[in-house]
Symmetry: C2
Subunit: 422 residues, 2 copies
Amino acid sequence: MKSADQAKFRRKALPVPEAQAIVLPYAKETESETVPLPEALGRILAERVTAPHAYPHFRRSGMDGFAILSRDTVGCHSEHPVFLEVVDEIPAGSVPTVKLKPGQAARIMTGAKVPDEADAVVMFEMTESIIREGKPYIQLIREIESGKNITPVGLELSEGDVILEPGRRLSAGELSVLATFGIHRVPVKKRPRVAVFSTGSELLRIDEPLQDGRIRNSNTYMLYSQIFEAGGEPILLEAIEDDLTQAKAQVEAAIANYDLVVTTGGVSVGNYDIMADLLSSDSVEMLFNKVTMRPGSVTSAAVKDGKLLFALSGNPGACFVGFELFVRPAIGRMMGVPKPFLPELTAELARPYRKINNFTRFVRGRLEVRKGKLYAIPAELDESGVMITIKDSDALIVIPPSNTGMQAGEQVTVLKLPGSDF
Amino acid sequence: MKSADQAKFRRKALPVPEAQAIVLPYAKETESETVPLPEALGRILAERVTAPHAYPHFRRSGMDGFAILSRDTVGCHSEHPVFLEVVDEIPAGSVPTVKLKPGQAARIMTGAKVPDEADAVVMFEMTESIIREGKPYIQLIREIESGKNITPVGLELSEGDVILEPGRRLSAGELSVLATFGIHRVPVKKRPRVAVFSTGSELLRIDEPLQDGRIRNSNTYMLYSQIFEAGGEPILLEAIEDDLTQAKAQVEAAIANYDLVVTTGGVSVGNYDIMADLLSSDSVEMLFNKVTMRPGSVTSAAVKDGKLLFALSGNPGACFVGFELFVRPAIGRMMGVPKPFLPELTAELARPYRKINNFTRFVRGRLEVRKGKLYAIPAELDESGVMITIKDSDALIVIPPSNTGMQAGEQVTVLKLPGSDF
């Protein structure tokens, strides 16, 4: 075993995609559970859903009007109107009670079932109602084409059609479809339970008064939000102690009790970097402890008993990026999301980015569409330690390693952040 | 008073922006409440937040290394190294205990407070540690510029700077800022309580077996989702009865008990369109009952006792659009959101849209960025009655009135739907 002290400095840096690929196979899928339809909102579907019947499942009127036999209107015009006897009235939800014969029509409402014999619905406004020999008739002055205003059976879906695939996030449109097919109890993936630890004796609780040299613990609440928005269930634990034996015990207990563990801070090369020590120990199997990215090059991952431990930087900007690139995809994959990474778009850099770096930079920035073109605007303050610009970011702008920085107008890849205003 | 029957047909159609402008002044702001920080996630901030202190509030080391007086390194190079005595060690969270004199340095960790006398931090890796006469020294072989690796007080924020404005949705970045400033109890707007009614005897409950001519009530669950995602608290009520006196009583009770009422169905010209009858009655003050848009031209709004009632179409597509254009902005404004409408972008139409219409169409569609350009792809099935394409929509594509439809490549305005995958 290498000494922990040496290992802190001698780190093999992996490119982001390689580090992501190492982690993902350890993201074990959570179990499924069945919840009432309204509670399925925002959850991830656990099973494929197919249409148990065609939709619509009956020939539906698209209009308020009259169901007719279109051949009755052949040759009809204002000089030669056609008169049809109204023999039935079909509100939505009812079924026709009369078999239509030539020369007859049925009053029908939007959404109601069209009589089998009818092949068209004529709009109410295109008819005139009259009474002849005490019987109700309508007068038509135009030919009506067959099929007019009738939604055929199965227009939207045939029986057995795949409606939703597993791994899909359920929103308004999905709940609407599930309700339509009577799927009132929905199989969804359990939310991964994600334990969050902070480290560092500089951290004050958020309800403590300010002290010189110390800062309040903001990363924990940022991670809480990110985990929640990613679909996980965040569990905020006490801070990790500055003693390796105790720290090991805390992390091991969390690994045993939860699905995933995330820590912030203590991964650098300082004398008090407890997570770096822990990751180099035999307590866990280290997957990587350096990534060729900025901010967050010290982002580390390990596995124990088949569960993932992410040790993120204590710098707010680096912690945020580390979560988005590594933890969010892991949480997504645990719920079977097929594409758990941030969506990648191409945009034009709206202003120059001057910083040079030998690692890939993930620069916080805003997105804007101007006349159909997508622009990425890097934040003015994007240092690893900067917290204030996180709230204004729509995306991470990917700046490849460069000696010169990038010019305004150059094409960049951006990773769109979920839940942003854009 | 006009007869209800006549009023159903003689409707004055308003353009969407005009109808939106009529509604918004009736969206009364909800009260504020104070919640613990984690519960503020996703809520709308009720008050302006300013920085109670500068941030950072002390000169912070950006590196693990040594705090030094930069003038000690003047003229230093590999042939003429400089030796500095290490007289203090400052972990993050501690304050310096020794006043640095020329020729001295302090071991310092990332995030720790830099001694007042020091004006630079040199990276640990750029130093060599040695012992001279039993005392610890570092050897430097490069000049260090003043200010190096020190984050100045107030780099991100000065005391009194505005951090967050009221009406802002609180996400990970906002919670991080609030935590940083110790705002552990957060003033947020109360969620508007939104009552939802369905109408129509064709509707089956979602747990009922299918029946000929009838459909399951899917709009209620779609509205539930849309209200929830808009920040409201949806309350699903029993269906509205097909009897005007009873319907009035139900709606009036809901108006009295909740902040906003939304109904779906019964706004057309059919014989059973109870909401159209109710809106033309003296029970409520009608604001509009027709809008020059498709789908959803029958979308109606009324006000009673200063509270809004939206009567949306029973057609799923029209109900969805009516909510996004009218109800979502009302819910947003009730929580003080400054821009409560769907964000408007310009995109290029990716395929032709052939349908002609004299009203503006809001066509469901997907958005795609290809090489930095934004494309809008209209759904194949966008009829008012179609439900299945709602789930696949990122935006509403605005197609102005036209006799010819639109060509692929033309510029269109799109209204981005919140919570879409795009």
